[in-house]
């Protein structure tokens, strides 16, 4: 029988994530400008999407930006926000018969400091995706480790670990991350540690429950009876059979970590300026919402795309993996919903 292919939902989810990863990887090539570049900030700030400005380079000063340029006599007249400015044609270095050819197009507009939103978005996706992926990997490792220890470590270890997990789960996730972020003022590496280090508790509970169930299955009992050590049974028999919820959780968790990172950065406790991340870009746009909606709108769409991609992938994976396990050793269908509910957090 041919293996069923991934359901369309999972494929589109994986497609979205791969696309975002590709954008992030090639950001320096794709970005039209340096994300930190501020050229003639007074003129270039809060320009709407698709608009463009002429760049006038002169001998004696910084390049000037203008909405329109016309020639009057021996002068070049620049139409600027602050009014028109006359520059002697002789001083302009990039003027030709066709006029000023050099233009900067702001595909997604510019922010309040005149930086290009598209460039910042692309560079920000590197930061946000890296933190999301690494934090998810950390949470997955920690959750599996603690869950495994609890499942095979005997009553005392189990009780100690699980009561701690219960306690930690009572904290609203964001509140816990906020508390830690406030105390440690994290840089990017510490941020990964913080988000990943506070996101493993639900998974530990899930892994423990799954392993305890598998431990009673015949194949595990047989392996134990044949003299394999508990750790050996765990690694050779139990964990490989628990990959279904682990994979689904990993996929969901990437999205969840990106959400947490963006929320933290939005509150000013995550990625620090001038480094762009989606959350901090939204925060930048908050105070200019009524006059420049694009500053906050586009990075939000990126977050939505990333989280949607990871949910779609998780959704499809759980369908697919449940199908594979059907009729095997009792793999139950677990929707991401059930897993999320079990985790008690997203």
């Amino acid at each position: 029988m041919s293996r069923p292919s991934l359901p369309p939902a999972a494929r589109s989810g994986a497609g979205i994530l791969c696309g975002l990863a590709l954008l992030a990887a090639t950001a320096p090539l794709l970005a039209p400008r340096d994300p930190a570049e501020q050229l003639d900030a007074a003129e270039s700030s809060r320009r709407p999407p698709l608009s463009f400005l002429f760049v006038v380079r002169t001998l004696d000063r910084e390049p000037l930006l203008a909405e329109r340029v016309t020639v009057e006599g021996n002068d070049l007249v620049l139409e600027r926000r602050s009014g028109s400015l006359r520059v002697p044609l002789a001083a302009v270095t990039n003027y030709s018969e066709q006029g000023i050819a050099e233009r900067r197009r702001n595909w997604l507009g510019t922010d309040a400091l005149g930086r290009d939103v598209l460039s910042r978005l692309l560079h920000g996706s590197r930061v946000s995706l890296t933190i999301g992926l690494l934090a998810a990997a950390l949470a997955l490792t920690a959750g599996t480790l603690v869950g495994s220890c609890a499942a095979i470590g005997g009553r005392f270890v189990d009780q100690t670990l699980m009561r701690t997990v219960d306690g930690l789960l009572c904290f609203p996730h964001l509140a816990l991350v906020l508390l830690l972020a406030a105390l440690y003022r994290p840089d990017t590496a510490l941020l990964v540690l913080l988000i990943g280090g506070t996101g493993w508790m639900g998974l530990a509970r899930l892994v423990r429950a799954e392993l305890l169930r598998l431990k009673q299955e015949r194949f595990a009992l047989a392996a134990a009876a044949a003299g394999r050590s508990p750790a050996g049974v765990l690694i050779r028999h139990l964990l490989p059979n628990a990959t279904t919820p682990l994979l689904v959780d990993a996929s969901l968790r990437v999205g969840a970590c990106i959400l947490v990172e963006s929320a933290l950065s939005f509150l000013g406790l995550g990625v620090q300026p001038p480094q762009p991340s989606w959350g901090s870009m939204i925060a930048d746009g908050q105070s200019h919402l009524a006059t420049a909606w694009w500053i906050a709108a586009f990075p939000g769409l990126m977050v939505v795309a990333a989280v949607l991609g990871s949910s779609l992938l998780a959704d499809g994976l759980s369908d697919r993996l449940a199908g594979l396990g059907a009729g095997g050793h009792g793999t139950r269908r677990r929707s991401p919903w059930a897993i999320r509910a079990w985790l008690g957090q997203a």
Binding site: P172, L178, A182, A341
Partner: protein, 321 residues
């Protein structure tokens, strides 16, 4: 029943102690000294005096016991480093707005979720069903703060359907009780909707799956055999079948709601626990941050306890276990 109640209460109390201990440990083990002089001209004796005033000069275990004793016996969370006000008093003012917001969001998420779930369940695998499924994934992916900003931009600033922030109008103190309540309601609905949105998708999916599952059970087939209408089967019998798990979902969503409330409060300038926490974080006011985090955890414990107790009324089988 009494036995069950006592057991649950005891478990909640133990969890409360664990939560307090964890919160204290996190704060005590963090680097940095809140009493370090911010200016080299401040004499070191001044810092020593402050440390003695706040009990920070004692060994950690002593600090812990003193702090725990004050919290448990007198609900005394210390004093704010910033204003000198008792923390409990400060947070007591911030609690009702947060509870109001979270409660309204809970209501919104259930109304939306159950409504959409019912719609989808009437015609499984129809186009409507599919759209509900996609929509539920989509709303989960929407970051609360971004949706909040966009809602303010489009609904509040653009269309003028709601005030852009705050809990009351500037002139609220002049209004009568009914008008004042309406004023709060006008400020409340948008943040509550935004906050409730992310979980509404999950509830819709759960309701749908549960209702479709119900139709295949004996109870569902019996209801159909008795000639009940489709509407009655789903609305009355189906929802009764789904109710216990839906209720459990409420306790699961409590931490999520509170996390979201922090964000929603900041976006909508809602004067609650979240706004107070953020202000305390920005000003390095550790006792307030610690207490606010613990308050969040206590609310979660209380919510799960309440859901457990309600659940035993809905489903008596749980008590036996």
């Amino acid at each position: 029943m009494i036995h069950f109640l006592l057991r649950r209460l005891l478990a909640a109390a133990v969890l409360f102690l664990i939560v307090l201990t964890l919160a204290f440990a996190v704060v005590a083990l963090a680097p940095g000294d809140p009493m370090a002089p911010s200016d080299p001209r401040i004499p070191p004796e001044q810092a020593e005096r402050l440390r003695a005033l706040y009990g920070l000069d004692q060994p950690l275990p002593a600090q812990y016991l003193r702090w725990l004793g004050a919290v448990v016996l007198r609900w005394d969370w210390g004093q704010s480093y910033r204003t000198g006000q008792p923390v409990a008093e400060l947070l007591f003012d911030a609690l009702p707005p947060t509870l109001l917001l979270a409660g309204a969001a809970l209501l919104a998420q259930y109304l939306l979720g159950i409504g959409l779930g019912l719609l989808a369940a009437f015609r499984p695998n129809s186009r409507l069903d599919l759209s509900v499924r996609v929509a539920s994934l989509l709303v989960y992916a929407l970051p609360t703060f971004w949706v909040g900003l966009m809602a303010i931009l489009i609904l509040a600033v653009g269309l003028g359907l709601a005030p852009a922030g705050g809990m009351t109008s500037a002139a609220a103190f002049e209004l009568g009780p009914v008008a004042a309540a309406l004023d709060v309601l006008a400020h409340l609905w948008l943040p509550a909707l935004v906050l409730g949105l992310s979980m509404a998708g999950d509830i819709a999916r759960y309701t749908r799956n549960s209702l479709i599952e119900f139709q295949a059970t004996e109870a569902g087939r019996a209801a159909r055999a008795r000639g009940l209408s489709e509407t009655r089967i789903l609305l009355v019998h189906g929802l009764a079948h789904a109710a216990p798990r839906l209720l459990q979902l409420a306790s699961v969503s409590a931490p999520l709601l509170l996390s979201g409330a922090v964000i929603a409060e900041v976006v909508f300038a809602w004067p609650g626990l979240g706004t107070a926490t953020l202000l305390a974080i920005q000003s390095g006011d550790t006792p307030v941050v610690l207490a606010a985090t613990a308050y969040g955890a206590v609310l979660v414990i209380a919510a799960s306890l309440a859901a457990d107790l309600l659940l035993t009324r809905l489903d008596p089988r749980i008590r036996v276990e």
